[in-house]
């Protein structure tokens, strides 16, 4: 399609990365772009790539913060390599060039390429070598000086106006992606409603960026129009995984009639679950910021004893601290949801980077025989459903449930088709009846093996629970047969959850020569890799696990069907090891990555092709 002398190319998807100094407003530019895209019909996914430091020294590589947006017709992940990169200073260019696709468009604020800034970024020669200019389309935009000029025309101090530099970059991006500015102008007017000058300045800088691009012939051949998505009918919004998790818990609370309690301690990247729930006292959510991780889970266990839908949110090191209390929750058989937003480990590890290396800890990290349910979300949006499911399982089976998400899902965002709470599956907590003469603390439902929940305040059901072994009637005992029985019962209760969950599904080409196995937050890249390979004529089957413990009942049947299986995960093979203990008859290959980064489609396809060729 031609627009004047400009060439507009149609594309299925586009990956854009906004990179700048922490505080350059890259997250905001990215969010505004993704919101505008979503409203014009694109599917989207975003992912922030931010440093652990809040404001590392200006112009250093350590201070670079990025925000990646993937827009298109059907988006599974925030994308691998970028079609467009915005680099607001030399350090951002240096550290983000590795994400650029061949021929990518790179927009830099040329005004920031001063000798000292280039030196700080580690450049010894000209950053724009002939080689670079040849490989990419480099747009050297005088963003700082243009922004300053607009500011001074409006009588705004430089210190204030330079905060609007991100709007210039955004304006350029809107031009290149053939989008209108209306949506963002409206947002700015709303956000800074009381600061007319700020609104005017930002809108003017945005427009200036757009017009700058319009005059720049260099990019006229690079204008792209991204295909809109064909999405199921319904109402949509953009949502991050951590907010989706928080909302899923709220929905489960409303649906089950049990008030929500969250006892937590701040920890990256899980904090936003607590931050979100803390806003919703009006919906009955009681959030308690505890003195430490242990108090977080212990207060939740206390709240569960008192009748709440009790939750605690954390990340790897915090889960380690909660281990002993998790054992207590297993022993007292109370409902509890533990959200583990995984990050790179061990120890403090890589707080702001993603990984799936807490799986062993979730499955086994307690003293004694201490089984519990483990489930994992697989997209930012479905964190809502998995949080809801975790709560449902905890309340209906009287057991702690660990919900595994990760930094990639938690901080990333996606489109979310808004459900009606009434349409979600019902939740029936196993509440005891007051004054039931037959109530015994560890009397079990013969089918599910779950016990009943008698709440302090209920008449005629006074009882004691605790970490010491008890007999089914309640009193303490060290009787050997009783201990064996209670250990069996607790395990059997978790095993029987498999009777209540759906069968595992196989997608891709179910008759494939290779079965790709994934779990949790990697489904975006895996889905796309398998889809592309099947489109290329290869035969690849794919199964992605959300129910981790217990596994769906047909898991063995699926695994036994395939000669070649590859288990892909962002750790050294924890899920593969877990599957091997249960299905030793199935040989499994592994594809692992422990770099604090999500999978890329390219590397997955390469690995799968290699296995197919063996």
């Amino acid at each position: 399609m031609m627009q004047g002398d400009k060439k507009v190319t149609q594309k299925d998807d586009l990956v854009i990365r906004f990179a700048g100094d922490s505080g350059d407003g890259m997250q905001l530019s990215g969010t505004l772009f993704s919101d505008a895209s979503a409203l014009t019909g694109n599917d989207i996914a975003t992912f922030p790539d931010y440093p652990a430091e809040i404001r590392a020294p200006h112009n250093t590589i350590a201070g670079v913060s990025g925000f990646q947006v993937h827009v298109g017709s059907h988006i599974y992940s925030s994308g691998d390599k970028c079609d467009i990169i915005v680099a607001m200073n030399p350090a951002s260019l240096k550290s983000n060039l590795k994400w650029a696709k061949k021929g990518a468009t790179i927009i830099v604020d040329i005004d920031t390429f001063t000798d000292s800034a280039m030196e700080k970024a580690g450049y010894t020669g000209d950053p724009f070598s002939e080689e670079l200019e040849h490989a990419y389309t480099i747009v050297k935009a005088p963003i700082s000086s243009f922004t300053e000029r607009i500011g001074s025309e409006m009588g705004v101090d430089k210190k204030v106006s330079e905060k609007s530099r991100n709007m210039f970059a955004l304006g350029v991006i809107f031009y290149i992606t053939h989008k209108k500015l209306d949506q963002t102008n409206a947002y700015l007017a709303r956000k800074f409603a009381k600061k007319t000058q700020v609104v005017q300045l930002n809108q003017a800088v945005l427009r200036e960026g757009y017009e700058f691009a319009d005059k720049l012939e260099l990019i006229h051949s690079h204008i792209v129009e991204v295909a809109t998505a064909k999405m199921p009918k319904g109402r949509y919004r953009n949502i991050t995984g951590n907010v989706a998790t928080a909302w899923g818990l709220l929905a489960a609370s409303e649906r089950s009639g049990r008030p929500l309690f969250l006892g937590s301690y701040p920890i990256t990247p899980a904090t936003d679950v607590m931050v979100e729930l803390a806003k919703h006292k009006a919906l009955g959510a009681k959030v308690f910021q505890a003195e430490d991780e242990i108090a977080g889970i212990c207060s939740a266990i206390g709240a569960s004893y008192a009748g709440a839908l009790a939750c605690t949110s954390t990340s790897g090191p915090g889960l380690s601290l909660k281990s002993e209390a998790l054992g207590l929750a297993v022993m007292v058989e109370l409902p509890l949801v533990v959200v583990d937003v995984q990050r790179g480990g061990p120890s403090t590890g890589l707080p702001t980077k993603t990984e799936q290396s807490d799986l062993n800890q979730a499955l086994y990290g307690r003293n004694g025989e201490a089984p519990l349910i483990v489930v994992a979300a697989s997209s930012s949006a479905n964190c809502f459903y998995w949080a809801y499911t975790a709560a449902k399982l905890a309340l209906e089976h009287m057991t702690p449930v660990i919900l595994m998400t990760d930094g990639y899902l938690g901080n990333g965002s996606q489109l979310f088709r808004i459900p009606k709470v009434a349409d979600l599956p019902g939740i029936t907590p196993r509440l005891a009846k007051p004054n039931d003469p037959n109530y015994r603390p560890f009397r079990r439902d013969p089918v599910s093996f779950a016990r009943e929940w008698a709440l302090p305040g209920m008449e005629g059901l006074r009882h004691r629970v605790g970490g010491l072994e008890k007999c089914p009637d309640g009193p303490l005992t060290t009787d050997p047969e009783n201990h064996a029985l209670m250990v069996y019962n607790r395990q059997e209760k978790v095993n029987r959850v498999a009777n209540y969950i759906p069968d595992q599904e196989v997608t891709g080409n179910p008759d494939g020569d290779l079965l790709v196995v994934g779990w949790g937050g990697t489904s975006g890249a895996l889905t796309l890799a398998v889809e592309e390979m099947n489109n290329e004529g290869k035969k690849v089957a794919y199964t992605h696990f959300n129910y981790i413990c217990p596994l769906p009942k047909n898991t063995g049947d699926i695994l036994r069907k395939y000669k070649k299986i590859v288990v892909c995960e962002l750790n050294n093979g924890q899920f593969a090891g877990y599957l091997r203990t249960q299905f030793p008859e199935c040989p499994m290959r592994q594809y692992n990555k422990v770099m604090g980064l999500p999978f890329e489609v390219g590397e997955l396809k390469e690995a799968f092709n290699k296995i197919l060729g063996e």
């Binding site: 006892g263 919906l283 266990i301 206390g302 008192a306 709440a308 709440l455 302090p456 004691r464």
Partner: protein, 344 residues
């Protein structure tokens, strides 16, 4: 602000028997814990709280077995975490009367963090610390309150740990109620515990308790009948600080510190004797009273009892306000808030 009380009153009068459980009490014969249990069982009927709404929460140790010996709801949790578990119980259901029972190791070593924070928040719960200055259930290791230099299983050459004074710790954490009791004086302990129950906020009662197996006579220097009257002073709000077998000794503030004086000697009259005021906000005198030992009598009774809004009230007030004024009435409202759009 008007005080909010959340725990419902019973419409019948209970007796001690109503709270006695059918479980065998398995503490050593002669253990001070028996007397503390008896005091608790005597306090519950006096609080008139509905029996179903009383919840005992404990950690780990000899004293923490107490929930099994009281016929109420109870949670025997894990070592050091009683305060944390109890916080969840009380926040989730403010209508429960929550009693936390811990030993000195449980509350001030492994659980020290939770203790200072529950006190700092002033959650409306009752804490009883059974202080026998030793780890009993693990058979005789020194605790955070063991006297300096004492020989125990893990300090064969004497401890070089300076002990905590629980009163100082509690008041340092902005405690609103601190009392000290003796296991050998059960009626007084009951009286103190009742005041603790009536206090709005975190009440802490430290009971000096004897472990006759691993630290026998730890408190004998002040609790032996022969010396007790001269070695302790029982503080009563609004009354002069008098002690001694002859009731002729008292405490005087000399402008720098507290001193024990004899009324009628060296020109000392009753006018010189301090009047106990448990309600002063400033912790100065309360700290001095809690620290007394050696030449000064050990203070027994309610040392500090001040009014401050409780975490429980503040929390429930916020909840009520948010529910009344909140933008979202149900989760559907929240899901559909902000930028949303329809796909046809």
């Amino acid at each position: 602000m008007t005080k909010r009380h959340f725990v419902p009153k019973a419409d019948i009068d209970y007796t001690k028997a109503d709270f006695t459980s059918d479980q065998m009490v398995k503490w050593c014969p002669g253990c001070g814990d028996h007397a503390i249990l008896a005091s608790l069982l005597n306090v519950f009927p006096k609080t008139h709280h509905k029996k179903e709404n009383i919840c005992m929460v404990s950690g780990i140790g000899c004293s923490s077995r107490i929930p099994y010996y009281v016929d109420t709801y109870g949670f025997h949790s894990i070592h050091g975490r009683a305060c944390a578990v109890a916080t969840g119980v009380k926040l989730a259901n403010p209508s429960l009367s929550v009693w936390i029972n811990m030993g000195d190791g449980d509350s001030m070593a492994i659980g020290g963090n939770h203790l200072i924070h529950i006190v700092r928040r002033n959650l409306d719960v009752n804490v009883t610390i059974f202080n026998n200055e030793i780890y009993g259930l693990t058979k005789g290791q020194y605790s955070p309150t063991t006297k300096f230099g004492q020989i125990t299983k893990t300090s064969p050459f004497g401890t070089i740990d300076y002990p905590f004074n629980p009163g100082e710790l509690i008041m340092g954490a902005q405690g609103t109620f601190y009392a000290r009791a003796l296991d050998v004086m059960p009626p007084l302990t009951t009286e103190i515990m009742l005041k603790a129950a009536q206090h709005d906020g975190t009440s802490v009662v430290e009971v000096l308790q004897n472990c006759m197996i691993f630290n026998d006579k730890a408190h004998a220097a002040i609790t032996d009948k022969a010396v007790r009257d001269d070695k302790i002073i029982i503080l009563e709000h609004g009354k002069p600080m008098i002690f001694g077998k002859e009731r002729n000794k008292g405490l005087r503030f000399n402008g720098r510190c507290l001193e024990a004086v004899t009324i009628g000697e060296n020109g000392v009259t009753m006018d010189d004797i301090m009047i106990h005021d448990e309600t002063t906000e400033d912790t100065g005198i309360h700290m001095m009273l809690a620290r007394m030992k050696g030449d000064l009598p050990v203070a027994i009774g309610v040392i500090r009892n001040v009014v401050k809004p409780t975490y429980t009230e503040l929390y429930e007030d916020q909840m009520d306000e948010c529910k009344a004024n909140g933008k979202y009435k149900c989760v559907d409202d929240l899901l559909n808030s902000g930028d949303t759009w329809e796909v046809e």
